[in-house]
Amino acid sequence: MSLDAAVRVRRGTLDLDVGLEIADGEVLAVLGPNGAGKSTLLRVVAGLLRPDAGRVAVDGAVWDDPAGGVHLPPHERALGMVFQDALLFPHLSVLDNVAFGLRTRGVRRPAARQAAGRWLARVGLEGLGDRRPDELSGGQAQRAALARAQVGDPALLLLDEPLSALDARTRLTVRAELRRHLAEFAGSTVLVTHDPVDAMALADRVVVVEDGGVVQAGTPQEVSRAPRTDYVARLVGLSLLPGTGAGTSVHLDGGGEVAVAEETSGPVFAAVRPESVALYLSRPDGSPRNVWPARLVGATPHGATVRCELAGAVPLVADVTATAFAELGLVPGAEVWATVKASEVAVYAR
């Protein structure tokens, strides 16, 4: 139940060109900003949209091959799909919604309903089968949608932003349940999301898609530790500084210089965590090798800290406590000095 896909689609301003390979039982997250082409990619795999070029194969069976004139219609593909909104059929009971995928595949009504009932129990909706979809909460509806997608034992599960329509608290519980379900699911899963937490919590591997192309792929840990684009860096809360390594310092592409602990050479990224940046009103004395003048351009409260955006030769994001922020009397436009220990700067090849 592996997926092997190379998808090329042009739609308006979108030029999507993405390759995916997923092994049995693996969960792949496709992470990217809105408009990157993630949902288009999923619609192609589902057969709802024909690719302009490329190939989609599952377990060696070709589902899409435009060059060879192959296009398996969506209803003949062994897959289940969950959309951002649960999209339960409003004219059917919850139980009949879940049974729908079995009824279309020729299972008789009593047997289909029995199987649907078992699935409802598995997603924690036992006894709610007689309800109308509009009588369910958002979280319950999304669980029912998950049961509906899985009832036919699909080879492939496609999840299109399955948690983003839920409120924050519901999202936590549904995410935890989804994690449990995906662990039990034998087939492959593609999860499309713009939320890095979903990707990190649910996926075995992450593919980052921006502007229709893959910009980074790896395990969630690899991607969050060493982001390769500003988008991912912002998502995981890092300042990403591209430059050229020379010994224990990095000459940034935007001017400026960063001292690092390890010897490097060639094109590299230097990544700085916001909590390792300290701010001063005057140039601090003492040991830190990285001291840069900067200007505060933005400040947003972020829990007990204030996230400060700094402009200058070395653009950084700094987290300072709310108390420190008040004591320093920081206002947007203020001139400050930022320091980072060389040992706190992560550096890796571009």
């Binding site: 619609r43 589902a46 209803h75 289940g80 959309f83 999209l87 059929f89 729908f100 009824r103």
Partner: protein, 269 residues
């Protein structure tokens, strides 16, 4: 105080009131002038029952034909990506604005005994369409079907097409999706369209009298009977009009309570 609250300015209020009066007074007049004393004997007069029955049968038949042909047509207009779709929509809605008499003439030219199709029918099968009960049904369908098509197309456009995507990923082919998902989703629109279509067919006059004539028992529907009665027996015309008005009002109430109002939330539960 009520006026101030609802905030209707006088320049709007006066014409609006006149408009209401203009629409309602004729109906009131009909009720006032009705020969209530002889109502029952008029209603049970031989011609009335026949005309009413013929009207109901023909309007229902026209609505059924419109459903069978019109719902698929609405689907094509709403969902297909064929190139000539806007032209097709314009053609389909022409009968909405066409004077019904013109429609009757057009039907005559095509299906009449000397018509393009009518002549073949007559020569090969000996079938004559004009001035028969089927001609009434055809004329009513021609005039009324666009109401159903427009109504159902609107419902299809308003329905979330993503439900059809969901059905496809659940193993439903396009036909199954249409039957099990699309049709139930637009059922209220189909119902409303059917009622509109039926009411329009029931009141059809121009195309019917042109294409089907005015023969009691076979083609004389209620509107034709009313028109004829007005010339020789105005009281009978009033009684027949009352019957038609009652049927129309009943239809309107049915439409509002069952499908349009949705205020009775108990129905959904």
């Amino acid at each position: 105080m009520r006026n101030r609250r609802s905030g209707v300015p006088a320049p709007l209020l006066i014409p609006a009131s006149l408009g209401v009066a203009f629409l309602v007074l004729p109906l009131v007049g009909l009720l006032v002038r009705a020969p209530w004393g002889s109502l029952w004997s008029q209603l049970t007069a031989p011609g009335v029952g026949t005309a009413l029955r013929l009207s109901l049968v023909c309007a229902t038949a026209a609505t059924l034909i419109s459903l069978v042909l019109g719902v698929p047509l609405a689907w094509v207009l709403a969902r297909s990506r064929a190139r000539g779709r806007s032209v097709l929509r314009a053609l389909v809605t022409v009968p909405l604005v066409l004077p019904p008499v013109v429609g009757g003439v057009a039907l005559f030219l095509v299906l009449g005994r000397q018509g393009i199709i009518g002549r073949r029918l007559y020569e090969t099968a000996g079938i004559t369409i004009p001035f028969t009960t089927p001609a009434v049904v055809i004329a009513e369908t021609f005039v009324a079907m666009p109401f159903l098509v427009i109504s159902v197309e609107g419902a299809l456009r308003a329905a979330d097409a993503r439900f059809e995507d969901v059905a496809a990923t659940l193993g439903a082919d396009r036909w199954t999706t249409f039957r099990r998902v699309t049709l139930p989703l637009v059922a209220p629109g189909i119902a409303a369209g059917s009622v509109l279509c039926w009411a329009r067919a029931l009141g059809e006059f121009g195309a019917t009298i042109t294409f089907a004539g005015n023969f009691p028992g076979t083609t004389q529907t209620m509107p034709l009977a009313v028109y004829l009665a007005l010339q020789r027996d105005p009281e009978a015309a009033i009684v027949l009009s009352l019957v038609l008005m009652a049927v129309s009002l009943g239809t309107l109430l049915l439409l509002r309570d069952r499908w349009l109002g949705r205020s009775g939330a108990g129905i959904a539960a």
